[in-house]
């Protein structure tokens, strides 16, 4: 598929999303959320398309896209790990899990590995405090997570780590 084609396709998708919101300029945030859901991040071309369709300056697009945590201007990894660091999870030991994931994946929170395999984020409270600390792996909640449980998960995802199974 040629590049021109894929940009055109992207624009069509973006147009569909915008129309769903009645081309309402006030809906920039939810529109970008849907765009991000569609493409896994906010491609420049898509931001351009939103900007021209809504007749909102591109600088405003970037203002919004960089202000809110939900948005990413770079592609996200194939596997997404989100660790809850809400207060309840924090006091129940989330920091130890955080540094362990950082070490194993060699990724700071908010970053994606260069091979696009992993993205690692910390999030502020998922509201499932009874299960804390919680790690969400590709959308699935893993409750009462420990260093060794994390290592088992990372091993399954193809990382070389020591676990008590080996």
């Amino acid at each position: 598929m040629s590049e021109v084609n894929s940009v055109e396709k992207m624009e069509l998708k973006v147009k569909d999303i915008i129309e769903k919101y009645g081309s309402d300029r006030g809906s920039v945030v939810p529109i970008l959320q849907d765009v991000q859901k569609e493409f896994n991040y906010l491609p420049k071309e898509a931001l351009n398309a939103v900007s021209s369709h809504l007749d909102v300056a591109i600088s405003r697009m970037f203002e919004v896209a960089t202000f809110y945590k939900a948005f990413s201007l770079t592609p996200r990894g194939r596997h997404q790990l989100s660790l809850c660091v809400g207060t309840a999870c924090y006091v129940r030991g989330a920091p130890l899990i955080e540094s362990n994931i950082e070490r194993v994946l060699d990724l700071r929170p908010g970053k994606t590995s260069p091979d696009l395999e992993f993205s690692f984020d910390t999030v502020n409270c998922l509201g499932s405090c009874a299960l804390g600390p919680i790690l969400v792996v590709d959308g699935e909640y893993q409750g009462q997570i420990t260093v060794s449980k994390t290592n088992k998960i990372l091993k399954k995802l193809g990382k070389k780590v020591k676990t008590d199974e080996s």
Binding site: R25, G26, S27, V28, V29, P30, L32, Q33, V56, R60, E63, V64, F67, Y68, K69, A70, F71, V85, G86, T87, A88, Y90, V91, R92, G93, L96, S99, N100, R103, V123, N124, C125, L126, G127, S128, C129, A130, L131, G132, I134, Y141, G143, T146, V147, S148, N151, V161, K162, T163, D164
Partner: protein, 616 residues
């Protein structure tokens, strides 16, 4: 079916009530986010399949409900009409629950809750200590209804308050009622809702907006989410009543994008409300029109602040503005706007139905009604609790929450989220309300209540909140942008053993600059976690700074892992798992950690089955 008059609404309610047999068996399964994470959805499916398989639809109803509150024990199942309470119900239990308990009245011992203090097994929901002391006026309905069913909401009296208001109450009278009830904002500020409504009503400008703030960003608080998920119509009804009183026809719900189930359920509720005719044009033939849009936030804590929320709703970055202009005069799109929090709105139908006098009878002198708290952290019974204002912290933490786990010593309870403070043990017998919490240097906030024990470092907690706020500060005003960062850097220094004399005083002085100079409440309240920990836990700061020790054993740079001679059996698991390969020892002999190489990851302590790894 669309209802066009009060009479039609009344007859519809009667029809629904008559079609329901209160004595019919009903298995309610909690499907709030907490229980869903335990796998409640497959449990609901399993129960449905079992009932279908045995053709028991006539005898038994299944209802998947919103959050019941007792998240610690999920998945939770309550069987009506007796209200038998089962906890930690698994897929394999479903058939037995149906055949033994529901059809034969036989209680399954293994699924009952055991009161840890008496060892007694408890059968009925109302007798469980966690629920016994609560007063679940707002939250209690969650367990009785399927949030996606408008009929369920109607069956428990839903939309009767709206009908009462539209059918003969003047807007001014509605405002008077809410003022008389002294309903104060549940989102944090505790501002009088009735007063706000009145100001918005009186303000010049058209249109006027009514907004529900569901941008629950306070980490550790999730009551708003559970209300939206579990009983969305009660919030819509509250907003409709408010809109009528204020003279508004347009409403918004601004909800966190991290709450997909809340977004889904409230969207369904709005659609059903429109179908029924309680939302839209000429509601119930009264001439009053009102509709609601749902808007998802972008993950910014500051957007819980009213003017930042308006900016976000207008499609801009959520930066707050100075507060000399009130939102009630110029809010969203510079028009008069009334913003209340989810829980505040959910209280409104209650006040209208039962009257301000009844509402006044609950609570303390200046804080009326109930408040929902999320009781989390180092506590045995994690969950959402609704209590009358004026209950003591001790009752909440010890009687309802069951105290701290593993018999560890209680140290503090943190309320009010990043804007609040840490309350030490000496205030446990204080009856809590808006004013009492402020008096001890914390605040009500949205109702997060994080319990901490002796293994929680208070300096680290202060640093945690500052780090959180540093990330969430919008960066518009200098005191907050620079001050919060500087305070976090000082706390980093203290936690990492570089604390210097005068640091505490410096923290206090920056704090006052923030309080005086910040544009919005995020910055102005940011020092609270620091000031309250300095005030009540000064000795922990000193230990970090002078002795270079973290008494709670948390701050990495000030602790070391050690293997205890007496308890080590030499099993070697710690050595095998150590990623730094710094543990050595012969089999069945004492193992030793090489302090030089140790990265303090904690895997040895976690893996040791004999509690032989200690933190100093």
């Amino acid at each position: 079916m669309k209802v066009k008059s009060f009479k039609e609404l009344k007859s519809l309610r009667e029809k629904i009530s008559n079609s329901r047999d209160p004595e019919k068996n009903c298995i309610t399964i909690c499907a709030g986010t907490g229980c869903l994470a335990y796998g409640a959805q497959s449990l609901v499916d399993k129960f449905k399949a079992e009932i279908e398989k045995d053709n028991l639809e006539e005898e038994i109803d299944i209802r998947s409900t919103g959050c019941h509150g007792f998240c610690e024990q999920g998945p939770v199942v309550v069987i009506y009409p007796e209200k038998v309470f089962y906890r930690r119900v698994g897929l394999d239990d479903a058939a037995e629950v149906i055949h033994k308990t529901v059809l034969n009245g036989e209680i399954l011992d293994r699924l009952l809750y055991t009161d840890p203090s008496s060892g007694e097994k408890i059968i009925h929901e109302d007798d469980v200590p966690f629920y016994k002391k609560q007063m679940r006026l707002v939250f209690g309905m969650n367990g009785q209804i399927d949030p996606t069913s408008l009929e369920d909401y109607m069956a428990i009296g839903g939309y009767s308050a709206l009908a009462k208001v539209l059918n003969g109450m003047e807007p001014g009278a509605v405002i008077e009622e809410v003022k008389k009830a002294n309903l104060r904002g549940r989102g944090g500020g505790g501002f009088s809702a009735g007063w706000k409504w009145e100001s918005t009503r009186k303000a010049k400008g058209d249109p006027k907006y009514v907004i529900c703030n569901a941008d629950e960003g306070d980490p550790g608080a999730y009551m708003d989410r559970s209300l939206l998920e579990g009983n969305p119509h009660s919030i819509l009804e509250g907003m409709m009543i408010g809109a009528y009183a204020i003279g508004s026809n347009e409403g918004y719900i601004y909800v966190r994008n991290e709450y997909p189930l809340a977004v889904k359920n409230v969207t369904i509720a709005i659609e059903k409300g429109r179908e029924l005719g309680v939302l839209g044009e000429d509601i119930l033939g009264s001439g009053f029109s009102f509709d609601i849009k749902v808007n998802r936030g972008g993950g910014a804590f500051v957007c819980g602040e009213s003017s930042a929320l308006f900016a976000s709703l207008e499609g801009r970055a959520g930066e707050p503005r100075a507060k000399y202009i009130h939102a009630t005069d110029r809010g969203l799109h510079n028009k008069p706007t009334n913003l209340n929090n989810v829980e505040t709105w959910a209280n409104v139908p209650l006040i209208i139905n039962k009257g301000a006098e009844w509402y006044q009878s609950i609570g303390t002198e200046n804080s009326k009604g109930t408040k929902i708290f999320s009781l989390v952290g180092k506590i045995n019974n994690t969950g959402l609790v609704e209590i009358p204002m004026g209950m003591t912290l001790r009752e909440i933490i010890e009687d309802i929450g069951g105290g701290t786990p593993k018999g560890r010593k209680f140290k503090a309870v943190q309320t009010g989220g990043p804007s609040g403070g840490c309350i030490p043990e000496q205030f446990l017998d204080m009856p809590i309300d808006f004013d009492a919490l402020t008096k001890v240097g914390s605040m009500m906030g949205s109702g997060g209540m994080i319990v901490m024990d002796d293994r929680t470092c208070m300096v680290d907690v202060a640093r945690y909140f500052l780090k959180f706020l540093e990330g969430e500060s919008c960066g518009k005003c200098v005191p907050c942008r620079e001050g919060v960062r500087r305070m976090r850097e000082i706390l980093d220094d203290i936690c990492e053993g570089r604390g210097r004399e005068g640091d505490v005083e410096l923290l206090e002085s920056i704090s006052h600059a923030l309080i005086d100079g910040s544009l919005c409440a995020l910055g102005a309240t940011a020092p609270n976690p620091v000031l309250s920990t300095i005030k009540y836990f000064r000795e922990e700061y000193s230990a970090h700074m002078q002795e270079k020790k973290c008494p709670a054993g948390v701050c990495k740079e000030l602790i070391r892992y050690k293997i205890d001679e007496e308890n080590c059996t030499g099993c070697g698991i710690c050595a095998r798992l150590c990623p730094a390969e710094c543990i050595s020892g012969e089999k069945k002999q004492l193992h030793v950690i090489d302090q030089e190489k140790c990265i303090k990851c904690g895997s040895c302590k976690e893996s040791c089955k004999f509690d032989a790894v200690i933190v100093e």
